[in-house]
């Protein structure tokens, strides 16, 4: 099940980051050392680390503020804010885990999933909690939300760059591997490449 999910994410992300579909999660390369370049991104890793550290504080303060102002909200906004909070909490956990593990181990499906989650789900939801006046944002709400949004934006920009670098590196590796095939090699990768 996770394999089909990875394939779907990779094929969708290939539209945005060309070269990404060349990614093969194989550790062995038949004894050929194809470069020791580190392709994880430092600013992305730092912002993810600090986001993970900051997340519990944001959670506690947001829940306390919500419980304090719950009576003052209209019934529609009560439902809306609680739903959005549940979504944001779950998506944030998933997103931070994917980004942290993906960047550290240079695993592209996790990184792509993290970036998609950030852009499509997290950005609108956080902006809604920050900007909409009907949720009665208090100064503390605004400050915490602003810090989260700043970290989110940093992750979006650096994540895009990191994903592009990693995809390009994998594409280069694939090209080099094709030229360095040993004719008698019987490893999985060489057999597959020879059959293409």
């Amino acid at each position: 099940m996770s394999e089909s999910w990875k394939r779907t994410v990779t094929s969708v992300s290939d539209k945005l980051f060309p070269g990404l579909a060349f990614y093969h999660p194989y550790a062995e390369d038949g004894g050929l050392h194809l470069g020791n370049q580190i392709v994880s991104d430092l600013p992305l890793q730092m912002s993810l680390y600090f986001n993970i550290v900051f997340y519990p504080l944001w959670l506690v303060s947001s829940i306390v503020m919500l419980s304090l102002k719950y009576e003052c909200l209209t019934s529609m906004y009560r439902f809306l804010v609680v739903t959005i909070f549940v979504f944001v909490i779950v998506v944030e956990c998933l997103r931070l885990y994917l980004g942290y593990v993906g960047n550290l181990n240079e695993r592209i499906p996790e990184l792509a999933g993290f970036w998609m989650l950030s852009v499509l789900l997290q950005l609108p939801l956080q902006l809604f909690l920050f900007i909409n006046e009907n949720t009665l944002p208090q100064p503390l709400d605004r400050i915490m939300q602003l810090i989260m949004i700043i970290m989110l934006l940093i992750q979006l920009f650096t994540g895009f760059k990191a994903l592009r670098t990693a995809a390009r590196y994998q594409a280069n590796r694939f090209h080099i591997m094709k030229f360095q095939l040993v004719s008698e090699s019987k490893s999985d990768l060489d057999l597959r490449l020879k059959s293409e």
Partner: protein, 140 residues
């Protein structure tokens, strides 16, 4: 090597404490009406109000500026792994956060803020600047 051993607890602590000081300072800046009123005597004129208001705004803004400078030095990595700076920073900003919370909730007098400012905003910024200068000049 020693610094890496310290970094597992010190770095996130310092980051969170700086952020907490930042948020409480911005909070006071945002809703400072009640605090300014508590600085003045019961029958105050508009000029006195504006004067106290301006003083508090200037104090808080300079504190925020020094905080931003320290955060910059921290996040750029120059002072991230220096344990002494981290300890001073944590102690000062921690006490600043707690005392500023009392400042807001108990409606302290305005001139007490300047004591807070000296010990808890200027001191970490100075140690930060000294550390940055040391790392710049001792490397060469």
């Amino acid at each position: 090597m020693r610094m890496v051993l310290f970094s597992h607890g010190l770095v996130p602590t310092r980051f969170l404490i700086i952020l907490s000081h930042l948020s409480i300072a911005v909070l006071i800046l945002w809703s400072r009406d009640q605090n300014v009123k508590s600085c003045l005597s019961l029958d105050y004129t508009d000029e006195e109000y504006l004067l106290q208001d301006k003083e508090l705004v200037i104090g808080l803004s300079i504190a925020l500026g020094l905080l931003g400078f320290e955060l910059l030095g921290f996040l750029s990595g120059v002072t991230m792994f220096v344990p002494l700076t981290a300890m001073i920073s944590i102690a000062c900003h921690g006490s600043a956060s707690i005392l500023l919370t009392y400042f807001v909730l108990d409606e302290w007098d305005c001139h007490l803020y300047w004591w807070l400012f000296t010990f808890c905003s200027v001191l970490p910024a100075v140690t930060e600047a000294v550390t940055i200068l040391r790392s710049l000049f001792l490397k060469n």
